[in-house]
């Protein structure tokens, strides 16, 4: 997504790589601006959710019991594994091992792509059973927040494809772009962990 902006950053990257990763902000600094802002926005949603949960405690607990905890847990593992391979792939790209980086990013993409598929296996039976956003406030929160997160996952998968293209086609892969994409993907992962805890686990 941001590969055009990285052109001037490649030379800097090489010296940074040589100097070691200590004290260097990985990726594009405007991505960090985005990540922090996005976390703040989701933070407001989480606070709002907690407030209304406190107001309708019984309703939220009863509705929560209807969620598919198994798929939620499998999806958590999928995202965490995907993030692990993103870390390994970034390491390989930094070390200049392009083949390994490509392989690891493909695995990360596969685990990431499983997330929306599994989400459909979760959502479709729920919606056909009449558990729609209009049912009550809990399900409205559930669909809105997981839906927003799903948009983030979709964008992350697109970014991952750009990373793969960058690693595959360019003579000197842009490490800062790989790092920018990895930063974004980890944010998606962190958001899911909080969502999973708030929506599925909290009692």
């Amino acid at each position: 997504m941001t590969d055009v902006a990285e052109g001037s950053a490649t030379d800097v990257d090489r010296s940074q790589r040589a100097a070691g990763a200590r004290g260097h902000v990985p990726g594009d600094s405007s991505m960090w601006f985005f990540v922090i802002g996005d976390l703040l926005i989701f933070g407001v949603y989480f606070v709002g959710y907690m407030y209304f949960r406190g107001q309708h405690h019984e309703l939220f607990l009863k509705s929560q019991a209807r969620l598919n905890l198994d798929i939620g847990a499998i999806n958590t593992v999928m995202l965490l594994t995907s993030s692990l391979f993103v870390v390994l792939g970034t390491e390989a790209a930094r070390a200049g091992n392009r083949a390994a980086a490509l392989q690891r990013f493909w695995i990360a993409l596969a685990f990431g792509a499983a997330f929306p598929l599994l989400k459909m296996f979760e959502w479709i039976p729920e919606i056909s059973a009449g558990v729609t956003p209009g049912k009550n406030l809990f399900f409205m929160y559930y669909y809105v927040m997981t839906g927003m997160h799903l948009c983030h996952v979709a964008l992350g998968l697109v970014i991952m494809c750009f990373i793969l293209r960058n690693l595959k086609t360019s003579k000197a892969p842009k490490i800062s772009f790989v790092e920018t994409g990895a930063t974004y993907w980890h944010m998606v992962d962190v958001l899911w962990l909080v969502l999973f805890a708030l929506l599925y686990l909290m009692r």
Partner: protein, 267 residues
């Protein structure tokens, strides 16, 4: 809007006159934005109390009283007159997007997004609220429908602007000419993603996801207003920093050669 820069015959010693300012068209478009938003704010809040939005679960007598108020009719008349300012104020964004090294598809999407958004988000509610005040004889059930239609069009249509601002944000991020700062592109992405939050207003009739709710209205509005201010400041800087030779309307009079230098993307 673009007719103003037809500068009069050059008169010696008056080179700094505001009428000869080659960015005059852009500045007019630019200053129409605060004028437009202030007018909007005055009409919506203290004049008609259309905003902050009334509750979707208001009682029928409340709805009828509101729809029949004279101030609402005056507000709709003012909005009818001001409606044309929307294209002028959008021109100031489009002229800067045109300078970016991105496909024209971005600015065409912005343009069409702004048009569809303004029709649904401004024209429809204006007609709905105006109609209610126009003829006192409408039955309460018709007035309730117009009330729902007006508010749903106004708040539930934020998604129309979504594509417009998505094109704007992506153009900023992909642009190589650095017309606007990259972080503004990312900021725009949050802004338009929160506009998607308007979807639940079609389902919820009370609570945080109703059209007057904490999440769908207040939070989205807070983000939008602060974003609008910041975009506005960035556009100001971009117009200020734009080299004169790069302007579309740079007249050939002083140095005919100056016209050769045009931006990467031209009409």
């Amino acid at each position: 809007m673009a007719e103003l820069p037809k500068a009069p015959a050059p008169s010696a010693g008056q080179a700094t006159s505001w009428r000869r300012n080659r960015k005059l068209d852009q500045w007019i478009a630019f200053w129409s934005v605060p004028f437009f938003f202030n007018l909007f704010g005055l009409v919506f809040v203290p004049l008609s109390w259309m905003m902050p939005p009334r509750s979707p679960s208001s009682s029928t007598p409340h709805i009828v009283g509101f729809m029949h108020s004279h101030n609402l009719l005056i507000a709709c008349v003012i909005l009818t007159l001001a409606y044309g300012l929307a294209p002028v104020s959008n021109a100031c964004y489009l002229m800067q997007v045109k300078r970016m090294s991105v496909s024209p598809a971005f600015r065409y999407s912005m343009m069409i997004g702004a048009i569809t958004g303004a029709i649904v988000g401004m024209l429809f509610p204006m007609f709905c609220f105006g109609l209610g005040a126009f003829r006192p004889g409408y039955s309460p059930s018709v007035l309730t429908m117009l009330y729902d239609f007006g508010y749903l069009a106004f708040i539930g249509s934020l998604g129309c602007f979504c594509v417009m601002w998505m094109a704007f944000g992506l153009a900023i991020i992909l642009d190589e000419n650095n017309i606007l700062p990259k972080w503004l592109g990312y900021y725009t992405i949050w802004q338009y993603v929160t506009e998607l939050m308007a979807a639940p207003v079609w389902i919820a009739k009370s609570g945080p996801f109703a059209w007057n709710g904490l999440m769908t209205f207040w939070f989205a509005m807070m983000l939008y207003v602060s974003w609008q201010f910041i975009v506005y400041l960035c556009i100001y800087k971009a117009i200020k920093n734009q080299p004169e030779a790069e302007l579309d309307n740079a007249p050939p009079e002083p140095h005919p050669g100056a016209l050769e230098i045009t931006s990467k993307t031209s009409a």
